[in-house]
C-alpha cells in the first residue's frame, strides 16, 4: 500500500466514470487537504454525486486512480468504511424508526460498545439539538431536523473524513447557517470534510473548492484565489432600461454574461479588454448619464465565467 503524503486525505488522478454512452465524470484530478472543508460547486447533474460515490467506494471508477485516507479504491473500499462518514443527498435513515433507534442502529453497525454507544448518542443529541425529539419517528420530522439527524448519524463513529452530498438542499436559510457552524466545529476538531452544493454562499465558506460542469472540473482553489484569477472583470451599470441594455451587451463577444440585480446590471467582461469601463462606455447602448463602476467579483461571477452560463443567461 502506498501511503498518501501526509496532509492529503483524498488524491484522485484522471478519475472518470462512464454510464453507458455518457461520461458522468471526466478525467478529474483532485487533492483534498487534511482538516479542511472542500467544496464541490456545480449545477445538478454535473457529476458531484457520482464523484462522491466513487470516493466513498460505492461506484467503481471507469478509469483513473483514487486514494482516500491511506486506502486505494476500489480494492480497499471495505476497510475505508470505518474511517469515513457519508451523508447522502436523500434522507437515508429509517423513516419508521425514532431518532434514538436510528442512532442506536448505526452505533451497533459500527461496533461501538454499549457504554461508548450511550455516551456518544447523548453527546450527539445535545450537539444537534435533537434531545427533545429523541422518541419521535424520523419520518415525521422537518427537513432541518432530519438533516441534523443525518449529520449526527454520519459522524457517530467519529470519522476522519466526512462526505456530505448537497446536505442543505431541503433546509431553510436559518438552518443552513447553523448547519455550517456545526461543520466548522467538526473541521476545527480535525475532521476533513468534502461537501457538494449548488449554493454560491455555501461554496464561499469552503476552504477550497472545485467548480464542476458536465463532469469536468473547470477550476479549483480557495474562493479568494478563484475570484482573483477569474479571467474577467465585473462592471455594474445603473441605467434606466436595463432589460434592453442587457440584450444588446450580451451579444458582444467580449461580454461573458450580464445579469440584472435590482436596479443594476452586473456585466462580466473578459480580461482581454484592458479597460472594461471605457469599453462599455463606448457602446452606443450605454447612455452618457449611466453610472458604471468596477466591483469586486463574487463566487457567482467565477462560476459564470468558468462554466459560461449564468443563472439567467439567455
Amino acid at each position: 500500500m502506498t501511503r498518501a503524503p501526509a496532509g492529503y486525505v483524498i488524491q484522485a488522478e484522471q478519475l472518470s466514470r462512464r454510464f453507458g454512452d455518457t461520461l458522468a465524470v471526466q478525467e478529474l484530478d483532485l487533492e483534498v487537504e487534511k482538516g479542511r472543508i472542500y467544496g464541490f460547486l456545480g449545477p445538478n447533474g454535473c457529476g458531484k454525486t457520482t464523484t462522491i460515490r466513487m470516493l466513498t467506494g460505492l461506484l467503481k471508477p471507469s478509469a483513473g486512480r483514487v486514494q482516500v485516507l491511506e486506502f486505494n479504491l476500489p480494492d480497499d473500499a471495505e476497510k475505508l468504511r470505518l474511517h469515513i462518514g457519508y451523508m447522502t443527498q436523500k434522507f437515508s435513515l429509517y423513516d419508521d424508526l425514532t431518532v434514538l433507534e436510528n442512532l442506536r442502529f448505526i452505533a451497533r453497525i459500527y461496533g461501538l460498545t454499549a457504554k461508548t454507544q450511550k455516551q456518544r448518542i447523548d453527546e450527539l443529541l445535545s450537539i444537534y439539538g435533537l434531545q427533545p425529539k429523541a422518541k419521535q419517528l424520523a419520518g415525521s420530522m422537518s427537513g432541518g431536523q432530519r438533516q441534523r439527524l443525518s449529520l449526527a448519524a454520519a459522524t457517530l463513529h467519529k470519522p476522519e473524513l466526512l462526505f456530505l452530498d448537497e446536505p442543505t438542499s431541503a433546509v431553510d436559510p436559518e438552518n443552513r447557517r447553523e448547519f455550517w457552524e456545526q461543520l466548522f466545529d467538526l473541521s476545527d476538531q480535525g475532521t476533513s470534510i468534502l461537501v457538494s452544493t449548488h449554493y454560491m454562499d455555501e461554496a464561499e465558506r469552503c476552504h477550497k473548492l472545485a467548480i464542476l460542469e458536465n463532469g469536468i472540473k473547470r477550476a479549483d482553489g480557495s474562493p479568494d484565489q478563484l475570484m482573483l484569477e477569474m479571467g474577467s472583470k465585473v462592471v455594474e451599470i445603473s441605467s434606466a432600461d436595463l432589460r434592453q441594455l442587457k440584450q444588446t451587451l450580451i451579444r458582444l463577444p467580449e461580454v461573458i454574461s450580464a445579469a440584472q440585480l435590482g436596479a443594476r446590471l452586473r456585466v462580466l467582461v473578459k480580461d482581454s479588454v484592458a479597460d472594461p469601463i471605457a469599453f462599455l462606455t463606448r457602446q452606443p447602448s450605454v447612455k452618457p448619464d449611466d453610472q458604471l463602476s468596477l466591483v469586486r467579483p463574487s463566487l457567482e461571477d467565477v462560476f459564470v465565467t468558468c462554466t459560461g452560463s449564468g443563472r439567467d443567461a439567455p
Partner: protein
C-alpha cells in the same frame, strides 16, 4: 463479537419496523387463522350431493324406487327431470347438473338379470344378461366428480327387490391407516401449514432488500461496515419467530377445531419446521437480491408459490406426476416439508427416517444464504 452485534442490530431494526407496520403484523396472525378456517371447512375431496338429472324412459314404480335408492347414497341429489336426451345434454353443458341418469324402458328386465341384485341368475356371459341396469352420462371434465359417479357403478341393488342382502366378498381387504374416517381435513391442515409458511416467509424476505433500495436506505447501509452475510442473517432472524407463531396457530387450531391428530414428537416437529422456515426465508432473500422493485419481488414470489401449492403434494399426490415434474417438485422446499410435517404430525415418523428431506432443507438454507450474500454487492454499479 462484532459480526454478532451487527446481526443483532439488523434483526432488532427489522423487528422494530415490523412492529410499527400494523397491517403486516395483523396479517401474520390473520393469514393462518382465516385460511385455516376457510380451507379446513371448504376443501373436501369426498364429494357429496352432486346435482344430477334423470331421463326416465321407463316411468315405472321400479324406476322411481331406483332413483330413491341412488339418492339414499347421498353422493348425488336429483334436481331435474328431463324428457329427452338433447335436453339433458344441454343441462350438463351449461353445468346445471353434473350428470344425468338414463333409465331405459326395459329397466325391469335388465334389473332381474343383473348380478347386482343377486337373484342367482346365470353369470353374465352373453350380451343379453350382461346389460347394465341404467346409464350415467357424466360431465367427465372434473375427474373428482367423475370418480364419485364411477363409485356408483357397482352399487348393490338388492334392496330394490326387498331381499336380504347377499354380501359380496371384496377381492381385497383395505385398511386405512392414520385417517380411517377418510376426512380430507386431516391431510389438509398439516399441508396448509406448509403452504402458508411458504407464502408468508417468502413474501416477507423477498421484499427485504428491495425495500431498503426503494426507500433510499441502501446507500446508507452499504457505506457502513456491515457484511452481506450479516445483513442476510439479520434480515431472516425476526421472521423465524413469526413462522413459528404461524405453525402453532395452524396446528393448534387444526387440532382443536378439526380434530387433526398430532401424533409425532413435538421437538422433532419444531426442528423440521425451523429448517423449512429458514429455507423459505433464504429463498425470499435470493428473490430480493434479483428483484429491482417490490412489485417484481411480488411477481417472483407468486412464481414460486404456485408450484409450491400444486406440485408439492399439497393438492395432488406427488407420485401421480411425471418424472420431470417430480424433479422440479424436489427442488422446492415445500415438497420436502410436506413429507416431513405430514409424516411427523399424522404418522409419528421419526424425522431420522426422513433425513434426506431434512438435509435438503438445511442445504437449501446454507446454499441460499451463500447465493444471496454473493449476489448482494455493496456497490451501486
Amino acid at each position: 463479537m462484532n459480526p454478532l452485534i451487527r446481526v443483532r442490530a439488523i434483526a432488532g431494526k427489522e423487528f422494530l419496523q415490523l412492529k410499527r407496520d400494523r397491517m403486516t403484523f395483523g396479517m401474520i396472525v390473520m393469514i393462518p387463522l382465516i385460511q385455516l378456517l376457510l380451507f379446513g371447512f371448504a376443501i373436501n375431496t369426498n364429494v357429496r350431493h352432486l346435482p344430477v338429472g334423470v331421463v326416465d324412459y321407463s316411468n315405472s314404480g321400479l324406476s322411481r324406487v331406483l332413483i330413491q335408492t341412488i339418492s339414499a347414497t347421498q353422493v348425488v341429489t336429483f334436481t331435474r327431470h328431463f324428457t329427452s336426451m338433447p335436453e339433458a345434454e344441454e343441462a350438463i353443458a351449461s353445468a346445471q347438473v353434473r350428470a344425468v341418469l338414463i333409465i331405459p324402458a326395459d329397466v325391469s328386465q335388465r334389473l332381474v338379470r343383473s348380478p347386482s341384485v343377486g337373484l342367482g341368475s346365470p353369470s353374465a356371459t352373453d350380451a343379453e344378461t350382461s346389460r347394465p341396469v341404467a346409464q350415467w352420462l357424466v360431465d367427465g371434465s372434473d375427474t373428482i366428480v367423475a370418480g364419485a359417479i364411477k363409485g356408483l357403478r357397482s352399487m348393490p341393488l338388492v334392496e330394490l327387490l326387498d331381499r336380504p342382502s347377499n354380501r359380496t366378498t371384496p377381492t381385497f381387504e383395505v385398511t386405512m391407516l392414520y385417517n380411517p374416517e377418510q376426512r380430507t381435513v386431516v391431510n389438509i391442515v398439516p399441508g396448509l401449514a406448509a403452504i402458508i409458511l411458504t407464502m408468508t416467509m417468502i413474501m416477507f424476505t423477498s421484499a427485504a432488500i428491495v425495500r431498503e433500495r426503494e426507500r433510499g436506505n441502501m446507500e446508507m447501509l452499504i457505506t457502513t461496515p456491515v457484511r452481506p452475510i450479516e445483513l442476510m442473517i439479520g434480515k431472516i432472524v425476526p421472521y423465524i419467530f413469526i413462522g413459528a407463531i404461524q405453525v402453532v396457530i395452524i396446528l393448534g387450531l387444526g387440532h382443536q377445531l378439526f380434530n387433526v391428530p398430532i401424533n409425532g414428537n413435538l421437538l422433532q416437529l419444531a426442528g423440521a419446521t425451523l429448517l423449512f422456515i429458514t429455507a423459505s426465508l433464504t429463498l425470499g432473500l435470493i428473490i430480493s437480491t434479483i428483484a429491482k422493485s417490490q412489485l417484481q419481488s411480488m411477481q417472483m414470489t407468486i412464481f414460486v408459490l404456485l408450484p409450491s401449492i400444486l406440485l408439492s403434494g399439497f393438492m395432488f399426490p406427488y407420485e401421480g406426476m411425471p418424472l420431470a415434474a417430480q424433479y422440479i417438485a424436489e427442488a422446492l422446499p415445500a415438497t420436502h416439508f410436506m413429507r416431513l410435517i405430514r409424516g411427523v404430525v399424522l404418522k409419528d415418523v421419526d424425522v431420522l427416517n426422513l433425513a434426506a428431506d431434512m438435509y435438503w432443507l438445511a442445504l437449501f438454507t446454507l446454499g441460499g444464504l451463500a447465493v444471496a450474500s454473493i449476489r448482494f454487492k455493496k456497490r451501486l454499479d
